[in-house]
Amino acid sequence: MLWRGLEYAGCRLPRTRSQTKGCRVSDLKRTPLYDLHVSLGAKMVPFAGYEMPVQYGLGVMKEHLHCRAAAGLFDVSHMGQVILRSEDPEVAKAALETLIPQDVLGLAENRQRYGFFTNDAGGIEDDLMFANRGDHLFFVVNAACKDADVARMRAALEPDVTVKLLENRALLALQGPKAEAVLAEHHPMVAEMRFMDVATVPIAGAECWVSRSGYTGEDGYEISVPVASATDLAKALLAHEDVEAIGLGARDSLRLEAGLCLYGHDIDATTSPVEGGLTWGMQKVRRAGGDRAGGFPGADRIMRELTEGVSRKRVGLSPEGRAPMREGTPLFASADGDTQIGTVTSGGFGPTVGAPVAMGYVDAAHAENGTALFGEVRGKRLPVSVAKLPFVAAGFKR
């Protein structure tokens, strides 16, 4: 058997155990839950500079289905947790609006919003969640981008605003239809939270910063917990019969079915938020005609694209057969035409859909739902159609 590449989100899985020894594992960082992962039988792989669990004993497919049916616990401690503070909190909010095209000043206390750092060319430098926690702003950013994000914010915002990357907190995500019932056993207050609410909640003796959000398309929570309490909290949650530990493999198929972008794949420094279909994340006040329109990096391109449209768009893709169309699969408008009209940026098997699912960028002329296209897999043109995102309806508690 030729291992053409055991790729997971840009990472290569070890081919055999003897090869694992050859990896420079020592360069990789570990999250506070590393020992727990190993004790649970996780397969650990390098991801964004960390040794992370790609799957546990259940395997990717069963972990995915369990999360959609009950509740899954994810270690997302590799992600960056950042605090922005200024003497007058309004100063930090206004300053942040110079870096992202979101409405920060209008975000109510104890609410969270999705956002993205843009660059001068209108591309996306990272996507993130930010929360108004009263006297400060709290961020969760992608692991691979966190150092650059902090450097960018420091360069632009200091000294009026202080930027602190937290090293003393882990981040857990509890996701799925049973997440509320499970977490409410630790504190009833979490059941009162709505989608994108944030709150400080004492759980298992620790001060946790909880948000009702996640990245699976399911209802659920992300829980920032002090490192010293992280393993105990994870164990307490896993002790519930409805909760299973879920690895990065299922996290990827869950977010793909939910139509959510993976930074560095579906969006990057060259794709604009308009091309990426993320304009829902740009509030009216920052758009043309709004009180604080523009004023973020790349506003020229992004504002122009909002009125004039774009030449390529991110779309959902449903391959007709059983063959998955992976990242990098070229897309064509016909079975024999030479002109490539797009590329798959994420693709795989969707366990809940029960079929392959993908997303990618296509020329705007081919972006309408239902458009018949072809993806070239192993030299063969296989039918695929442009599909509405998400593939699986979200279960958020709005």
């Binding site: 058997m1 030729l2 055991l6 155990r17 395997g59 497919m61 198929s253 063959a323 098997f349 392959p356």
Partner: protein, 119 residues
């Protein structure tokens, strides 16, 4: 049963050889979701890529372990690729082939050598 370094197993049945992938390989691959098989009657050379396996994590190929002719393929796997995870060294064989030179099998690993190989 004989084993290749590419994690295939070969079992002699009369004048044919049955080929599949090992339990170790199936476990490494994870849940298999797609399989493409060769044509019956196809003549193959050693190391031709003749089967495509896609799991939730990866795309892989099975190489022809020896020169020969494909005599039968396990169509059931196309409908139920997950069988490869359930019974990789039994029901989930991939194809049967007639080979020119049965003695070529003698050079392959036996079970003990394969176990040693995967560590």
């Amino acid at each position: 049963m004989k084993f290749t370094e590419e994690h295939e197993w070969l079992r002699v049945e009369g004048d044919e050889v049955v080929v599949g992938i090992t339990a170790h390989a199936a476990e490494q691959l994870g849940d298999v979701v797609f399989i493409e098989l060769p044509d019956e009657g196809q003549t193959v050379s050693k190391d031709d890529e003749i089967v495509v396996i896609e799991s939730v994590k990866a795309a892989s190929d099975i190489l022809a372990p020896l020169d020969g002719e494909i005599t039968e393929v396990n169509e059931a796997l196309v409908e139920e690729p997950g069988k490869v995870n359930d019974d990789p060294e039994g029901d989930a064989w991939f194809f049967k082939m007639k080979i020119e030179d049965m003695s070529a099998l003698d050079d392959m690993m036996d079970e003990a050598a394969y176990k040693d190989y995967i560590g």
